[in-house]
């Protein structure tokens, strides 16, 4: 159970005067739930952006499932099997929940322009299948009853779940969640926790950025801690929790844990 899925090799990223990531290296194993925590502004989201190709790193590289990831090409990274959600939810506002997930199937469907214009059998069959799968995915995350609701009219918690469903529709090996519990109440957080465990159980490795330390500590197999762009710890939660540098980062410099 300790096959390496993702290896980040001294990833660096600068924004003007800010070193958002300073030679961050970490290894995520297949099948685990890996937590990435750290105070606000530590560089967690930047790590996601560089990993998924939204930004190009200034240095370092990612090795995913045995080969190097392209940089700065988001759609190729998704095709390789890494899907993400966003800290500030980014759904397709004018589309229904179902259509959002169907859009997520774009990558794993192949009807051509001609197939679509001629409505050939392959296209119609694929369209039916995509619709059916999208329903299943909505059921999986627990919002099937809102299938035909415009995504912008969903509650906050449901929008977060829809974003996860849409990401899963790309059939990832690694699902990267950026603060999925932000803004959720206790019940919603508990449901989210169950969902993440189910996702892992179904064979998808999870990379979780989370502010809610309790959630992270209870859920993750291993945790890395970022502070000012540097990785200051990486271990099982019980060890990380007692790490002096981590306690200092969270309680020291005016930052605070939840």
């Amino acid at each position: 159970m300790s096959i390496t899925l993702l290896e980040a090799q001294s990833i660096s990223k600068r924004f003007g005067g800010i070193q958002a990531l300073a030679e961050v290296s970490l290894t995520i194993r297949k099948g685990e739930i890996y937590g990435l925590i750290g105070p606000n502004g530590a560089g967690k989201t930047s790590f996601f952006n560089v990993l998924t190709g939204a930004y190009t790193p200034d240095g370092g590289e990612f090795v995913f499932a045995g080969s190097e990831l392209p940089t700065g090409k988001p759609h190729e990274v998704v095709a390789r099997g890494i899907a993400r959600t966003f800290q500030n939810i980014r759904l397709f506002r004018e589309m229904t929940a179902l259509e959002n997930v169907m859009a997520g199937h774009h990558l794993r469907s192949d009807s051509t322009l001609w197939g679509i214009l001629l409505q050939n059998r392959h296209m119609r069959e694929e369209e039916r299948l995509i619709t059916e799968r999208a329903y299943e995915m909505l059921r999986y995350v627990g919002i099937e009853r809102f299938a035909n609701t415009l995504s912008r009219n969903l509650s906050y918690g449901d929008q977060r779940r829809l974003e996860i469903a849409r990401a899963l529709a790309t059939e990832p090996q690694l699902l990267a969640l950026d603060e999925p519990a932000a803004g959720m109440n206790a019940t919603e957080t508990a449901q989210l926790r169950t969902l993440i465990e189910t996702i892992r159980h179904d064979g998808v490795t999870v990379l979780l950025i989370e502010h809610d330390v309790k959630l992270v500590m209870g859920l993750c197999d291993r945790v890395a801690v970022l502070d000012f762009g540097k990785k200051i710890a990486e271990d099982v939660p019980a060890v990380v929790q007692r790490d002096a540098a981590v306690i200092e980062a969270y309680l020291g410099g005016g930052h605070h844990a939840h």
Binding site: L91, F92, H105, S109, S111, L117, T131
Partner: protein, 362 residues
């Protein structure tokens, strides 16, 4: 069609069948009714249908893919000039419409891709400015090249013909009953409009339509689910341009001559206004917008000109100024009263027949 019917006040809601019959009847009988008033009005209807096609094509780019294009009329020009070159005495080539129209569409699509490449990274205002420039460049080229006859344009274009029979000669049904050419053009254009609607709906309910809508709603998120935004945008420009190219060819066949002045920036703006006024993204809305904003100025022209003559003894406001005035007023009233257009977009991107419950989106 159904969207149009539903939009009729009262009837649409309470007697949908009657509303649909009314819309269908109006569409089919419009040229006959218009002909009874005067042939000018049939000509106006024909032009309206060409605007409908243009608006449908532009809606693909602006309404679906969210790419603001202010140079759309350039593709109309490409289609029209293709017709002028390949079906007129200009260089002595007379290809049939089923060869010229696809060629015009292909050239327009190519032009669409050429425009698309440099503007891939641009959005909003910047995109609008560059596309505007593109439209002007095309027009200025047509007006200054000698092969296009410069500002004089090209004359004596062939009209649509089928098996050697030219539509512009009209159809002699019996000895004393002749269907005039303008009416025939109407039905020919209607066929093309119906074809366009079918094609666009097929695109809309597909991975391509969803890809476009995704880019429009959130480009970063679209990338993050693996959509190749570059290819999808180029496809949007190319497909939109295709409709422009086909309607341009039809325009050439209808008008009999082409010259650069038919393809000004104001025309691009007029078509964009039709799209926005009717309800960007909603096919029914776009159609209503195009019909309303191409008919109204003509009505106004026929009322305002004689009225000005009678009141002032001369024409103070020329029809083109009146038309722009009307378009601006339409936009202002729309922004105030119905900011999302006459028929706001409620465009769906999944086929209704595969949905579990047929409920409308909330």
């Amino acid at each position: 069609m159904n969207e149009l019917a539903e939009a009729i006040p009262y009837l649409g809601r309470h007697h949908p069948k009657a509303a649909r019959a009314l819309v269908l009847g109006l569409i089919l009988l419009a040229p006959v009714l218009a002909a009874s008033v005067g042939n000018t009005w049939v000509r106006v209807l024909d032009a309206a249908l060409l605007y409908v096609m243009l608006a449908l094509g532009l809606n693909l780019v602006v309404g679906f893919a969210g790419l603001l294009d202010l140079g759309y009329i350039a593709f109309y020009a490409v289609g029209a000039y293709t017709w002028a070159f390949l079906a007129s005495p200009h260089i002595g080539v007379h290809l049939p419409f089923w060869a010229v129209l696809p060629l015009g569409a292909a050239f327009a699509a190519l032009a669409g891709v050429l425009l698309g490449f440099p503007v891939l990274r641009l959005r909003g205002d910047y995109l609008a400015i560059v596309t505007l420039g593109f439209g002007e460049i095309v027009r200025i080229f047509m007006g200054n090249l000698s092969v296009t006859n410069g500002p004089q344009g090209i004359n004596m274009l062939d009209s649509l013909s089928l098996f050697g029979w030219e539509i512009s000669r009209g159809l002699q049904v019996t000895e004393n009953f002749k269907i005039n050419a303008l009416v025939l053009f109407y039905y020919a254009f209607l066929l093309f409009v119906v074809g366009s609607v079918v094609v666009i709906r097929r695109l809309q309910f597909s991975r391509i339509g969803r890809g476009w809508a995704a880019i429009r709603d959130d480009e970063l998120a679209a990338k993050a689910i693996g959509i190749n935004t570059r290819n999808m945008k180029l496809l949007a420009f190319a497909m939109g341009a295709t409709f422009g190219g086909v309607s341009g060819g039809l325009f050439g066949s209808f008008q009999g001559f082409v010259s650069p002045e038919s393809f000004t920036l104001l025309e691009s703006i007029a078509v964009l206004t039709m799209v926005v006024f009717g309800g960007m993204g909603n096919l029914g809305g776009v159609i209503v917008g195009a019909i309303a904003l191409s008919l109204l100025p003509e009505v106004l022209r026929h009322i305002a000109l004689p009225l000005q003559q009678a009141l002032f003894g001369k024409v103070l406001l020329d029809p083109e100024v009146l038309r722009m005035l009307l378009l601006s007023l339409a936009m202002i009233f729309m922004m105030l009263l119905r900011p999302a257009g006459l028929l706001p977009a409620n465009a769906r991107y999944a086929r209704a027949e595969y949905l579990h419950d047929k409920q409308e989106a909330a």
